[in-house]
Symmetry: C2
Subunit: 236 residues, 2 copies
């Protein structure tokens, strides 16, 4: 079982997962091949969605006037955020490059439209947020597909959703979920930038796994996997 994937195909998936990075700089000027962009968008569109509601839309942006307005929102929100953190971390934070809106040839705003096929969506009745969760899965598909194509993706989250809605003409009921910057890069960083900068460490796998209930780190029914997880090596 699992036999429908060759070793190399499996490796391809894990390689994409472990080498995917949030890219904010070093985009090349090469325009994105539109056949490849189509393939990446199709991968995003094949994400799981609650009740098969496919509640996502993808707005492709290369117009510079639009990008500049989004960038202004980033600058404003970044300024606001700088007052939320104290020295000496503040200076370090201020020095980070956190977006590539104007550098990346293509921006993509991924949105959530709860009205699609609604109001009754299978599986969305108890937890309405699952509609948004579906859109996030689509973003991750897009990100992984782009990685295999040599295209870097950066998710800009220091941004005002109100500005996004206004600049992109979103209807009231539609929520922007992700604002992504896409472009070819010469190479991908070995580790996440914030790990390299020693801003935060990668957690050990064992620190994010519990057994049967919250905070249970030991459980005799899970003895073997506990041992395996302890010795799990960090991939990136």
């Amino acid at each position: 079982m699992g036999g429908d994937f060759t070793r190399e195909e499996k490796d391809g998936l894990y390689k994409a997962i472990f080498s995917r990075r949030d890219v904010r700089s070093h985009y090349t000027s090469r325009p994105i091949d539109e056949e490849i962009l189509t393939r990446i968008l199709n991968a995003a569109h094949h994400a799981p969605s609650v009740g098969f509601s496919q509640p996502w839309n993808f707005i492709l942006i290369k117009n510079n006037e639009i990008k500049k307005k989004i960038k202004e929102s980033f600058e404003q929100e970044k300024k606001l955020s700088e007052d939320m953190i104290e020295e000496p971390r503040r200076s370090k934070y201020v020095s980070f490059k956190l977006e590539g809106i104007l550098d990346a040839p293509v921006n993509v705003c991924v949105t959530y439209d709860p009205s699609k096929f609604g109001p009754f969506i299978i599986g969305r009745t108890s937890i309405p947020e699952t509609g948004i969760y579906s859109v996030c899965c689509a973003v991750q598909n897009l990100w992984l597909a782009a990685r295999t194509e040599g295209i870097g993706v950066g998710w800009v989250s220091i941004i005002s959703n109100d500005v996004l809605k206004k600049v992109l003409n979103l209807p009231d009921h539609v929520t922007p979920i992700a604002y992504l910057c896409l472009g070819y890069v010469e190479k991908f960083a070995e580790k996440p930038d914030l790990q390299t900068a020693k801003w935060l460490p990668r957690l050990d796998l064992k620190d994010v796994i519990y057994y049967e209930k919250w905070n249970q780190k030991q459980n005799s029914d899970w003895y073997k996997i506990q041992e395996l997880i302890k010795t799990n090596r960090d991939y990136a």
Copy 2:
């Protein structure tokens, strides 16, 4: 560029994306190999996270008493949902099998803990929900990795988060994001169950793409990709 992935490695990623299914039945009784489960969890742990906050935890569940309590919550929530839809769709909805909580050997609850490394998280200052979005990306990594290993994953969303919090002893500040059922399957369905049952159709790719602004389906700057997207074939 993109040259660091071979054709077969790329194909592996796309194959995982296009053949991944939400699995609710036909799990085999074979226990999940714990080395493979470790690898899948490690893939989830290498998802992108806002400000490298890694705000996820994974609670592994095989205890039957716990599973039964979760299943009871499903039954209750399902009943409530049945009153939200009218005949003739109601009967069809009632007939669907929507979870495999007791059938799947391993259940995994994926949670969001906003307090990890907080309160200041880079990139989470303007849109606090981005912490939850990170957890969803981890779920999608898990789902794709499981697919390459022949392990089916079903996301149960007809469930009460209050019950989950109580049964799994979650602290007040922690939110359950996904309740997943994992098990080997003999084969994966060719298309999503709800598509096969003609509950909802797969949208055409062209219907989810806009250019520069919401609802703009034509834009001369994007002429070539519009043509490509129109002829894009449905993968599943």
